[in-house]
């Protein structure tokens, strides 16, 4: 009995020290980045501009057609904003996973593997960054879209905590997709093309209601590359009252499941790491 209790306290202590270390590594990453303030400032401004131009594309499409397959401008704006938020959270904490290719090609993962810590713990905080551009853009669209729908009585204030929940589970789903994609790199080394498909293209596709696409693609975006779980599925309930409240436990379960799968795959991938010569 005491042994189990001891085990639990020691595991708890480990988790606590991991969190402390994680925070230290994030601070370190920010300090490193601040060595190049000009680059940081310019990067933030450019990111905001790119985000703006991306939304302009969507806005132009919406302005021309008014609605997409029965989804109003505000509803599509909502889909867009949820995706932006989830992606921002994923890329704020897990950007280095997205850039794993660099570690594989240059053998940089070696150093992380010599540390007595989980590789993801030392890998992820390496490029922690606050993505101001994305936050501002996503926030503006979200306020505009939700504000209009609250005003028209389409949704109640309950939509806000529900949206926060969807954004968080969405971030977990996007991270899991990113991690599983990156893990493929342990076999193929180069992964940028695969990422174009599973991350960039899939995320862009899910900015519109999935009913827009042929059936098979809709199914694909809810199962194999489940980006539809990030915004489309929750929006069906939160905005349109379809499905049921069970959407939320389903989202949580799905997020845990894909994350678990991605982590297992990652652990297996690391055992196939090939490093580089010398």
């Amino acid at each position: 009995m005491t042994e189990i209790a001891n085990n639990r306290t020691s595991r708890l202590r480990a988790v606590r020290s991991y969190i402390k270390l994680y925070r230290l590594l994030i601070r370190t990453s920010i300090r490193s980045r601040m060595q190049y303030r000009f680059n940081f400032a310019l990067g933030s401004i450019l990111a905001a501009l790119i985000q703006l131009s991306e939304f302009l594309m969507v806005a132009i499409v919406l302005a021309k057609f008014g609605s997409v397959q029965g989804w109003s401008v505000h509803e599509v704006g909502y889909l867009f904003a949820v995706m932006t938020f989830s992606k921002t959270i994923y890329r704020t904490f897990g950007d280095e996973v997205h850039h794993l290719e660099r570690y594989l090609v240059e053998g940089e993962l070696d150093q992380l593997l010599t540390k007595p810590l989980p590789v993801l713990l030392t890998l992820m905080p390496r490029s922690f960054r606050v993505m101001f551009g994305e936050v501002i853009q996503g926030g503006a669209i979200m306020i505009w879209a939700l504000g209009a729908m609250l005003g028209s009585g389409q949704v109640t204030w309950w939509a806000i905590p529900q949206t926060v929940f969807a954004v968080l589970t969405g971030a977990v789903v996007l991270f899991a997709i990113g991690l599983a994609t990156a893990t493929c790199g342990f076999w193929t080394t180069r992964i940028s093309m695969l990422q174009n498909m599973t991350e960039d293209a899939a995320q862009t596709a899910a900015r519109y209601p999935l009913t827009l696409y042929p059936n098979w693609m809709g199914v694909l975006l809810l199962t194999a590359i489940p980006v539809g779980l990030v915004n489309y599925l929750p929006a069906l309930y939160i905005l349109r009252g379809e499905l049921g409240i069970w959407v939320f436990p389903l989202l949580a379960a799905a997020a845990c499941l894909v994350l678990l799968f991605a982590l297992r795959f990652w652990a297996f991938g690391i055992s196939r790491y090939q490093s580089t010569g010398s």
Partner: protein, 348 residues
């Protein structure tokens, strides 16, 4: 219980260690890029094969071999970075692949070609972060760094960002970083590569202290014969992925016989005794005058003759006297063997 048992375990135990890399065969011709995506054919390259050895606690082992022989691959397998395709590793009784995290706190690893320090931050900050990663207390950290700073002259660049360090400074900082958590076992992959004489001497002195005074077990790879001669009692040679020698440094020297190349220019040609027409590169020659000198002709020009002799067995003067009797000598050039060449010979 556990600690008692661990003391008796050898520092490193490798058995039947092998690693093969699979690369898809690149198709030739049209749509090669697309086709190679679906290629089912693989070329399997065996980087390391059937390596087995035991290193006891407190040993200082040199691991040498030409580029591409599999040195780094072996070290990475020992350190838990690469999973072996076959065979097993035990470090102080622990499998570094089954229990990577646990094993990692007992080993230090230095790769001469890359740094584990934080590129943009002052050197001392890297030590703070590493101490936290390995769970080293502040008191231990300060005490050890104080020691390292004296032995490795770290103070002069304590506050300099790592990216601004010279190669020699960076390597010293990196070695201190690898020892910060006081591991019993240290792996060094080419720690003296590209360094000047002073930096090399400094690093060698530090490694010697670690081994002799603190009883650390060290395995290092190098291309510098001086590293081996000054530091290691035992040397292992790898060639073509296989262990070709494992023994003392003296034994290695004896085995190779360290051939010296002597290039003689004759004023007007020479006659090599017993030489038949067209067999200029004949093997060891028996010689005139009863005393047979073991020398080997490696190259022959119109006026020049290059021979190899084993200076352990033969005195240079005797060789020159012998060569002088074959023709009138104009000039003599002597070249000590390159280390790489010596290595190539013992597995070739």
């Amino acid at each position: 219980m556990n600690t008692v048992k661990r003391v008796q375990e050898p520092a490193i135990e490798a058995a039947g260690l092998g690693k093969s890399f699979k690369t898809p065969v690149v198709a030739q011709g049209r749509f090669a890029g697309v086709r190679s995506l679906f290629a089912r054919e693989y070329r399997v390259k065996e980087a390391v094969k059937g390596i087995g050895f035991t290193v006891e606690k407190g040993e200082f082992v040199g691991y040498i071999g030409p580029n591409g022989a599999g040195k780094s691959t072996t070290i990475k397998m020992l350190a838990g970075i690469l999973h072996p395709s076959e065979g097993q590793v035990k470090l102080a009784g622990i499998d570094p692949h089954a229990e990577r995290a646990r094993c990692a706190s007992g080993i230090g690893v230095v790769f001469g070609q890359r740094s584990q320090l934080w590129w943009d931050l002052p050197v001392k900050d890297s030590y703070d972060i590493l101490a936290r990663m390995y769970g080293v207390s502040d008191a231990d950290k300060d005490r050890r760094l104080d020691q390292f700073a004296k032995l490795l002259d770290l103070n002069e660049f304590w506050d300099t960002p790592v990216r601004k360090l010279s190669l020699g400074q960076r390597m010293r900082a990196d070695i201190a970083a690898a020892m910060l958590h006081d591991p019993e076992l240290l792996f060094l992959d080419e720690p003296t590569i590209g360094l000047d004489v002073n930096a090399k001497r400094n690093i060698r002195g530090f490694l010697k202290t670690l081994n002799e005074e603190f009883g650390k077990t060290i395995l290092l790879t190098t291309h510098d014969m001086d590293d081996i001669e000054q530091l290691c009692r035992r040397v292992m040679v790898i060639g073509g992925g296989r262990l070709t020698y494992d023994g003392t440094v003296e034994g290695l020297r004896r085995e190779i016989g360290l051939p010296t190349e002597i290039k003689v220019t004759y004023r007007d040609g020479c006659t090599v005794p017993g030489e038949r027409q067209g067999t200029a590169q004949s093997a060891a020659l028996g010689t005139v005058g009863g005393a047979s000198l073991p020398l080997r002709i490696v190259a022959r020009g119109k006026h020049t003759l290059t021979v190899e002799v084993n200076r352990q067995e033969t005195r240079t003067m005797d060789v020159l006297r012998e060569l002088g009797s074959w023709g009138e000598i104009d000039d003599v050039e002597m070249r000590e063997p390159e280390f790489e060449e010596v290595i190539r010979r013992i597995y070739g």
